[in-house]
Subunit: 246 residues, 4 copies
């Protein structure tokens, strides 16, 4: 059990309120499905959504969050720049961040990556098979060598992100593409995991390996680390010889 | 010779106009010293400065630049956000970027890194010794195992940047610190090199190994690469089996 | 043109002498097909094979080789350990090494990697599609975003090699697997590229993108770099204060 | 506490039996000093030494070891090649390995790295200051930004090892050199940490931050991970279209 890890699941929560196809799969929203899936792992899980005041991401909430999960899609532009900056600052101070699926195009992910985060995509109800290519990674705990999602949206390379620190999962798509689907980064004192699957029209977040990976990533992102560094002007630690300027 | 590589040296060019100590070392500006040093390598070298219209970085100039060199310090905030975005877009499209010394705190570097780019520092006329820790890198061409700068500003770890793709140089400082002084990144289609030395009160940019490293980095950043990728919606490359939705 | 790069292609050269199916495709051996393909790039290309004295890899030959290409399969065990050590030493001193296909299980590759280099495999005449996932790499020069081989042997993950320095190509296989097919390493002063395709029963080494990638890798492995380091006992560069041992 | 992690400390144990200077510091051997230091962390710690049968590294012992610590120096050549291979196999199957100081030249480390593992060195009773350059790493838990060893042997760059997966510590030496002193690798299913300090004539292994780092590295090397992969011939996961050979 992981009683001390405080997780906040942020969801745009729009598709689930207007699109009957999505409502049927996630009647209470993607954030509730994730919360229900993650609770048995013993995390303290709360949620926040776009249309709450400050998008539910107040200073107090972020200050009490160890790992933030992010799902967004159609309303990336409606996320306030000040809130994005607030989230970035918390990540750089050490909050973990797990970016899901279409969150690749969120302001916060692009801001932390420094790139366009663009990719190829297709909605064609196609099979995705995810292969573990770094089985020693804590995020791979308890997983088989690969697992399948019967129907998913396709994301294809080239994925315009910095070379990841670690490449954990690579996807095979029925339509012929591959994708770096599970990748890690460190930015400042914060650990970041991008995880590809999770299109809103498929029941992806009810799949056991998907929830397990997210739970593993939470534990990884909240794991032990050293103290935050000091920045700025410092005194010398050794004697500096005065130079004779000619 | 490298006749086809078009280099633009961008310099804030403020210290050199107001500070007598700096004027004495760089009477025509840091950009001219760099231009004079780099010209014998056969690059087409031009310059741009903060106080020119559009900071000298028009669409036309950037469009005709293969590698941009960036030196800034006291006036980072005066750089227009729109120009910063323009430079970022060009980097992501493939323009090389060499960020020098105090440019670590420039808007463009922070935007591309996604971190604070903070560090420790001290001005104490101290000795810096730069060690090559990746001698196979093209940027190390023609260098000895280490070289010294008699007097430089100190930059110390922790340097809040993403783990570099490649670590080429590590500095030893007389006052007791170390620093990752030569580091590479790729962002989008652009190659980036951060190079630590170059405080405005020392004649660093007249030193042979310093100029050689910058010249090597220009060639590296402008080197062969593949075509830019396509992003967006794509047709399948294989036949996708229709799924029977229950 | 690359007149100064001296390439030696090493081939086991057994399948091509006994197996009619392979003889039909590579009547003069895989090494000749590669030599013919690479010669137009202007390299000085010579060949060596297992059954020559010292496997054709004398001190003189290796000393005059900038980049060695390695293809082996059924007779890995017949390669003399002393010759393997000689090749390793030359790589560590700076010779480039390109390991092809079933060479993943060669003594020299396993020795340089330190791992089993094991993988999954299948011979089923299946389609392979290779995707470029690092388009900025010199090895990607002149390539489209992906290319296909109509029939190849399958290699699947997990591939038991160290995390590569750079991941350039990822393969999609018709039968459902993915593979890290183009990966780079540096060992000592030598640059290493492993490239997956090339089963002896298919005309893979006559394909234009395959030859182009190998040619690009030769140029990359022979590229500019710094001088070889000194190892051993050294005098201090700074004055060391005598310690008062209590 | 970490009751389930089984640690075996392997020590050459020669200097401590013949050299009075070393005997004074480590009267029961370096392995006992390490064992005493690590026991409070709750690991199950046992020891093994060169002159025991099979160097104390029987199949049974290695099979019951989660993390192996390795200290050797003057007798690297006396370590049996078969035992080295046995240790390598266990590492590739998932046993953690922590290589200390002069163990950089051990057979097992060179075998796992594939390089010479050579470096510069000097014995001059000089100060070493170790800087944390990856404070987010679990190995940095509980450490200050830097710490000092009043007297140590110097190891200087270039250190001929593969680029590490992660660079955690960089040393500053009084005599003017720098060194990548804390570096991680994964080989097969095993996690490896090389940690520089620990010359036999100094009381390094009694220092609190040194023991803490080794304890952190043990936890890191024994941490959660996925299942070991299957290698070999596999059936297709998708239907492969028969090709019409012309």
């Amino acid at each position: 059990m992981n009683p001390n890890i405080r997780v906040t699941i942020w969801n745009e929560f729009r598709h689930e309120r207007y699109n009957p196809e999505v409502m049927k799969i996630y009647p209470e929203g993607i954030h509730r499905a994730l919360q229900n899936g993650l609770s048995p792992f013993g995390f303290e899980v709360s949620t926040a959504t776009l249309d709450e005041p400050e998008h539910g991401l107040t200073e107090a909430t972020l200050g009490a969050t160890d790992v933030l999960i992010w799902w967004g899609h159609q309303a990336h532009d409606e996320v306030d720049d000040g809130i994005v900056q607030r989230v970035q600052e918390r990540v750089l101070q050490g909050m973990g961040l797990i970016v899901l699926h279409s969150g690749h195009y969120s302001k916060i992910f692009k801001k932390l990556m420094g790139t366009t985060c663009a990719l190829k995509w297709r909605e064609a109800d196609e099979k995705e098979r995810l292969w573990i290519v770094k089985p020693t990674h804590p995020i791979a705990l308890g997983l088989p060598e690969y697992f399948e999602l019967d129907e998913e949206e396709m994301y294809g390379e080239f994925f315009d992100v910095p070379d990841p620190d670690e490449l954990v999962l690579v996807s095979w798509f029925e339509g012929g593409e591959v994708f770096r689907s599970g990748i890690t980064y460190t930015r400042g004192q914060g650990k970041i995991f991008y995880f590809r699957p999770g299109h809103e029209t498929y029941p992806t977040y009810y799949q056991e390996p998907i929830i397990r990976i997210i739970a593993n990533a939470i534990k990884w992102a909240a794991s032990d680390r050293g103290a935050s560094p000091f920045y700025g002007n410092v005194k010398p630690l050794e004697i500096i010889t005065p130079k004779v300027t000619p």
